[in-house]
Symmetry: C2
């Protein structure tokens, strides 16, 4: 190897050793007679040292010619530093340089390669290869690497087998929009890129591979909201001959293993919560349980006192913000403005201050006396010093709005600490959801999810009430994974397609191979897929998944570094039997 | 879990244990009063046992109703077998069944699920999920899994970091044909699927990630020859601050590690051979070195004796087939026919039999006497009992033809044993190769490969003689991996593009980002990529890569199981701003 050591490796034990280092010039400090260079590589920073009168003149000249980000090969002797730097692991030593070879020069980078950079997002993305030199980005990718390795270690240990499923598959109109690939050899026909390996992993169960996983790229051609990527990575898993609880405990084990090995954290046992309870107590199917602030339904104490907003509401529901009685008028107005934003959609906010002297002050004093307000407080487990925040209206919308308010208040109170982790299983999701636009029932998870057997009769009478054997894992209020026990017999699968509005012909054309497979000894099976990009970003304590992806695309789906997508030649189009429509 | 044990797990030590097994009915033997069922899962086969008069009547009835490939859950007690079966690890026990639950029935499979099946290729592919139940196919995928895990273990141990590079990238006219993906959000523009992550891994080196790898899907839209797939998997690697020898020894280490851990074989040190020598001594850039049979150039002994075929030839070259002097006239005729086939292209074949009595018999006795023939034999290290086979003609064509003959004879002699492994590094490949069709020089490896510095002056005068810092690993006559030391400075890269006929504008448009990157401190770097599908098939001793891919495509690029590619809707085409050209 060109180097004898990395820039993160040398310690006092190496003193007097002749070493060769390679790396990038991070910084040069020239004090006239003394000259220091910080040499950086992926492993750390090592201080190089040269001295006027002792170091060779030509060598000094070379050293002084070095600019930021020059790549060099340096030889020298390890020496103890006079003034140690205890901030870096190599801070006790420096290397007295005897030769410098410039392996490559560098123009001045368009932004500084430091932890905090002056480069904006666009610039950083255009020069992503320089951005990747920055510690936080490099560390994010190293974390991702470690997460992937530990995921494999855990699953391998349980006899899971990693099987690669195809990337060039078949387009189906179900779900999100597919990316498609014109087939040159089959003119007029297209492959699709997989939104997930769903049907293939189910076929592997039919094949008897009973424990499958894959860390796999998936693709969705959706309009990109912030922090969504057209290509993303899943930890995709499936098991046969298991119950839902087997799956939950196996993959709770995975998450606990990752926390333990990657972050040194002993994650608490992951509680289970039904979808119904999650909506009822948190107004969300992905509650953030790092903090409490559970919903209290207040219809009983709130209604019948002449306050029309409460009296007309299907639901009056509140949360108790601990220790917030001191919120100013302005702070409460801000919360009111928050809930009235169109994306939240509440009409107004009622508050009750539980004053430290045991009295109450509320925005509805006109309708409720002290005793009645005390009842609210009691119902909400509010004590002196707390603030009760109440919304009222239609059940689902009010819950969702209060769920948003809960998160908003918790953020203000610093309860959403990125270094604290709370995981949760949400289960018993509805099987179907009503699509207002198309006026039909869609599969909430996907059409292969099995209904709870006891709910099957409801399919005809009350489809929205049918619960599925479906579950999500939620971490800190973010869904990090989801799955289900699948249908494994042709009859039920066909029924499901019918309920989703497929004609028999459509179902057969698109998923005939799967239904056929179910007739040749398909075992009961189920699985889960974790969003790997998001999981990494949560482990890394970051808001965005962007820096956990080496070469991400922007919100227009463009890679600005390589300038893609781009036009292709007429010859290429002709070979593919397609034309661009102007 | 539904089962307590797998079907490969029970031993004498489990006797009298109550167990629950799940799996597929492989076979049912009904002897009237005694009934055996072979239950199969991924882990093995366990014999189940029922007895008339002892087992419950309803249970017996259920057992008798089972068909091949039914999925069942069985409870029972482990008992010692009266007649052991030492062919399977569970052969000492059987399970006395107390209950059977049919988890799913099965229609009669379209082919038998046995090691040797009656299913043809098309049928097996259409029902791939059943084909995957067969031991040889399942074991192939398990081998692949193990290869992947061990590849990662080795590279992780050397501080390589696995980084996922994008799948939606940019189309470039260089090299093979790209698969493209129309961008809905950028009408008229297309992504391309990567033929390899080449430029991205080089950018990672510029970023300082100094040791990268990825087991990654790549795509090439080529007319499919037998045993080529439009999507295939590479072990893709790159290192910075290394010499070519560092790379060769690192990845020789990988292959040795795989042989050791996956097959328990201590692979010999991998010899190095120049491309020039490989062509000279084996007529191939991927010589099969499981056996010797090196070429001997015979111009000196062959020419000037009046045999025009030899006298007019640029090269007279032979191989010695050990112990083949007894080849019949018919056998030698067959070899002559072989070399005269159009794809081999020789005009004829000269042989010299080294008879056991020390005399010689040849097809050119008219021109060469015993003493002269003895000289041929001496030159070829041929002894009594050997057969010398000689071709003559134009240098390159003759070498290639003799290379084919060498393999053909070796196959006949059983020298190409699939359980024997010989690896070889072939290095110093030519940088460029002449394309007769386009009348221009193409990069033999790819345009990022660095020329040997001492050969750079030849670029202008004799481009075909410039050697590259490029290398292939060859295993048993198959190229399993190849790579090079890359260009890492803008000037050389630009020069290379010019030599390959790129205008400056084209080079900038397609690879400007890479040349830009080279100006910001790009370290010296190089790498390699292994064809993972092929590597697995060689380890598995198979001729085809097909069974080492879970869901392969056929030679028309079709997945006959899911029936893909397929037509997509007009609405989809419209959204993508493309039209199918009729």
């Amino acid at each position: 190897m060109v180097r004898t050591h990395t820039c993160g490796e040398l310690r006092l034990s190496h003193i007097n050793k002749q070493v060769t280092l390679t790396g990038w010039v991070q910084r040069l400090r020239d004090k006239g007679s003394l000259l220091w260079i910080d040499l950086r590589d992926r492993y750390g920073i090592t201080q190089l040292f040269l001295e006027e009168g002792i170091s060779d003149a030509a060598l000094l000249q070379t050293a002084r010619s070095l600019g930021r980000e020059f790549v060099v090969k340096v030889e020298g002797i390890v020496a103890a530093r006079l003034s140690k730097n205890d901030k870096i692991p190599t801070g006790e030593i420096e290397v007295k340089v005897s030769s410098i070879e410039i392996l490559n020069a560098s123009k001045t980078p368009p932004f500084t390669i430091e932890d905090e950079t002056d480069g904006g997002d666009d610039l950083r993305m255009k020069y992503r290869y320089l951005d990747l030199r920055r510690n936080p980005v490099r560390e994010s990718l190293q974390l991702r690497h470690k997460m992937a390795q530990q995921t494999r270690a855990y699953l391998d240990g349980l006899n899971f087998i990693e099987v690669e499923t195809p990337v060039l598959i078949k387009s189906t109109p179900e779900g999100a929009r597919d990316f498609v690939v014109p087939s040159r050899m089959n003119p007029g026909e297209f492959y699709a890129l997989p939104q997930s390996p769903q049907t293939f992993k189910q076929l592997l169960m039919v094949s008897g591979f009973d424990r499958y996983y894959q860390i796999v790229k998936c693709f969705r051609d959706e309009d990109l909201r912030a922090d969504r990527q057209p290509e993303f990575t899943q930890i995709d898993c499936e098991m046969a001959f298991v119950t839902q609880d087997d799956i939950l405990s196996t993959f709770e084990g995975l998450i606990r293993h990752l926390f333990k090995t990657v972050k040194g954290i002993d994650l608490k046992e992951v509680p289970h919560m039904s979808y119904a309870d999650a909506m009822k107590y948190y107004g969300s199917d992905k509650p953030d349980t790092r903090f409490d602030m559970k919903f209290e339904e207040l219809n009983k104490v709130a209604q019948g006192k002449g306050f029309m907003v409460f009296d007309d509401a299907a639901l009056v529901v509140g949360i108790c913000a601990k220790g917030c009685a001191g919120y100013t008028r302005k702070q409460i107005d801000e919360l009111t403005e928050f809930v009235k934003k169109p994306q939240i959609g509440a009409k107004g906010l009622v508050y009750i201050r539980c004053e430290s002297n045991g009295t109450y002050k509320s925005s509805v004093d006109k309708f409720f006396d002290e005793i009645e307000l005390a009842r609210f407080a009691q119902q909400c487990n509010a004590e002196a010093g707390d603030l009760i925040l109440i919304l009222a209206g239609d059940q689902d919308k009010t819950r969702k709005a209060l769920g948003e308010l809960r998160l908003h208040v918790a953020s203000q109170l610093g309860l959403r600490d990125k270094n604290k982790f709370a995981a949760l299983w949400v289960r018993d999701f509805p099987l179907l959801e009503w699509d207002e636009e198309t006026k039909k029932w869609n599969a909430m998870h996907h059409p292969f999810t099995s209904p709870k057997p006891e709910d099957i009769p409801l399919l005809k009478t009350s489809p929205g009430d049918v619960r599925a054997n479906a579950y999500d894992m939620v971490l800190n209020g973010t869904e990090i994974g989801g799955g289900s026990i699948r249908i494994h017999d042709r009859t039920t699968q066909q029924q499901m397609f019918t309920h989703l509005g497929f004609t028999d012909e459509e179902a057969k054309k698109q998923f005939g191979f799967l239904m056929d497979a179910f007739e040749y000894g398909a075992p009961p099976h189920g699985g889960i897929a974790f969003g790997f990009d998001r999981l990494c970003s949560l482990f890394g304590g970051a808001d965005s998944i962007r820096d956990f992806i080496a070469f991400p695309k922007n919100n227009a789906g463009r890679d600005v570094m390589i300038d893609s997508p781009s036009a292709i030649s007429e010859a290429q189009l002709k070979e593919l039997s397609i034309e661009v429509k102007k």
